[in-house]
């Protein structure tokens, strides 16, 4: 695509919604995609470097901070960092205790990881939309790259790969514990023998199958949808900065208002992902009859 594309509104939006994709293009060979079309052409065997980088960076940050506190933790008077960590751990543990009735030492750390990780990834949304992509483009321009063809999406949860990745892992855990607790027969019976009894087996399978499959889908799409829409609104607001003084001021006001509102959304989405994971795992641990 030509560099003039980035100057139109459509191009600007398109630019912001394209991942930094590394893969093998059928025509250009191995390398970074120079446009969203090229990224799509790469098919499955490509990797979104920006999503991976930011998600692992933020997850690592979470692990590093919490591990640092856990190493120096004391049962005596806690310091500031320990207090903060304990507050979060207490909050997560309370939720697990409230929604999860079986005993499984994995659920609480899983919930903590989901909450902290998703929250931090969502938090990237509050950075000005152009800040990191612009800096990254200027940085690569030093090495001769065209900034208009350098993509960077800083919010990993606006990439369905990230949300589906987590949701699928949760889904596999649900399947694993369903089979482990109820046995293969029990799990299959749960899928086929209710709510209509054994003569309504096809209807049962249809209903239960949909309800089972809707779990990872709803988990992943809810988070992705919320964050994607939020990001999109930030991008649209950013378009206002191209106009005159009035539009600039309006844009500034709107961005502030939306950012404040977004603080609620990012926390809420992280919380919802965590709570639904706990609830799904609790259902997997429970015999229905």
């Amino acid at each position: 695509m030509s560099s003039s594309e980035a100057l139109t509104s459509q191009g600007y939006i398109q630019h912001h919604l394209t991942n930094l994709t590394l893969g093998v293009h059928p025509e250009h060979g191995f390398g970074f995609a120079h446009s969203s079309a090229e990224a799509a052409d790469m098919g499955f065997w490509a990797i979104n470097v920006d999503t991976m980088f930011f998600s692992i960076l933020l997850g690592g940050l979470f692990i590093w901070f919490f591990r640092g506190v856990a190493e120096r933790i004391t049962a005596g008077v806690p310091g500031t960092a320990q207090n903060f960590v304990e507050w979060i751990v207490d909050f997560v543990e309370e939720n697990v205790r409230g929604s999860f009735s079986a005993r499984n030492p994995m659920v609480a750390p899983l919930a903590l990881t989901i909450f902290a990780w998703v929250f931090m990834m969502n938090l990237m949304d509050l950075l000005p939309v152009d800040l990191l992509p612009y800096l990254f483009g200027q940085f690569l321009a030093v090495f001769g790259a065209d900034p208009h063809h350098v993509f960077l999406r800083v919010v990993p949860t606006t990439d369905p790969n990230a949300t589906f990745g987590m949701a699928l892992m949760v889904f596999f855990l649900v399947l694993y514990y369903s089979v482990k607790i109820k046995g293969v027969g029990g799990f299959l019976g749960e899928l086929t023998l209710q709510p209509f009894g054994k003569w309504g087996m096809p209807a049962n399978l249809l209903l239960e199958g949909i309800s089972l499959l809707s779990k990872p889908l709803s988990l992943a799409l809810r988070l992705f949808g919320n964050m994607y829409a939020g990001e999109m609104i930030f991008i649209l607001i950013a378009l206002l900065y191209g106009g005159g003084v009035v539009l600039n001021l309006t844009g500034g006001l709107l961005q502030f208002v939306w950012a404040v509102f977004h603080i609620l959304i990012i926390t809420l989405q992280a919380f919802i992902f965590m709570v639904l994971t706990i609830v799904y795992l609790d259902m997997a641990h429970q015999e229905h009859h």
Partner: protein, 156 residues
């Protein structure tokens, strides 16, 4: 916006983070929280025990003080009794000693009286003899009349 290999990479990253959190982050924090909980419970129980033992100690101190006062009063009473006894004893002793002294003085007086009487008797005897000698103006056998004079003197 395409589903690609990132999906699996994200799943692996997620699994690694959860595993690490489960192994190295969650247990120490939760253990510390549980430990603090027991510590606080113990502290509260100890405070409760302290309160109880303080009340108990105060009660015991009051009892001890009461006992001590009673004992002191008893001791003072006994001492007073003993003092009275000692005074009485001393009075009795003094009376007895006085009586003895009076008696011995009386005996001395009696002895002295007897001695004086004896002496007087002898003197009177010899005086009588001398007087008789003088009166008779003659040789008298002293030895012959001696017993007569003695019996006379004894009648004095």
């Amino acid at each position: 916006m395409n589903i690609n290999l990132t999906l699996f990479a994200q799943m692996i990253a997620f699994a690694v983070f959860v595993g690490f959190c489960m192994k190295y982050v969650w247990p120490p924090i939760v253990n510390a929280l549980a430990e603090r909980k027991t510590k606080i419970a113990e502290g509260l129980a100890a405070a409760e025990r302290g309160h109880q033992s303080k009340a108990l100690g105060e009660q015991r101190a009051l009892e001890l003080m009461k006992d001590a006062k009673a004992a002191a009063a008893e001791i003072v009473g006994q001492a007073q009794k003993r003092a009275t006894e000692i005074v009485e004893e001393a009075k009795g002793d003094a009376r007895a000693e006085g009586g003895r002294l009076v008696a011995s003085a009386q005996a001395e007086i009696d002895r002295e009286t007897n001695r004086a009487r004896e002496e007087l008797r002898e003197r009177v005897a010899s005086l009588a003899v001398a007087a008789a000698e003088k009166i008779l103006q003659k040789e008298i056998d002293v030895a012959a009349h001696r017993s007569l004079v003695d019996s006379f003197a004894k009648q004095l």
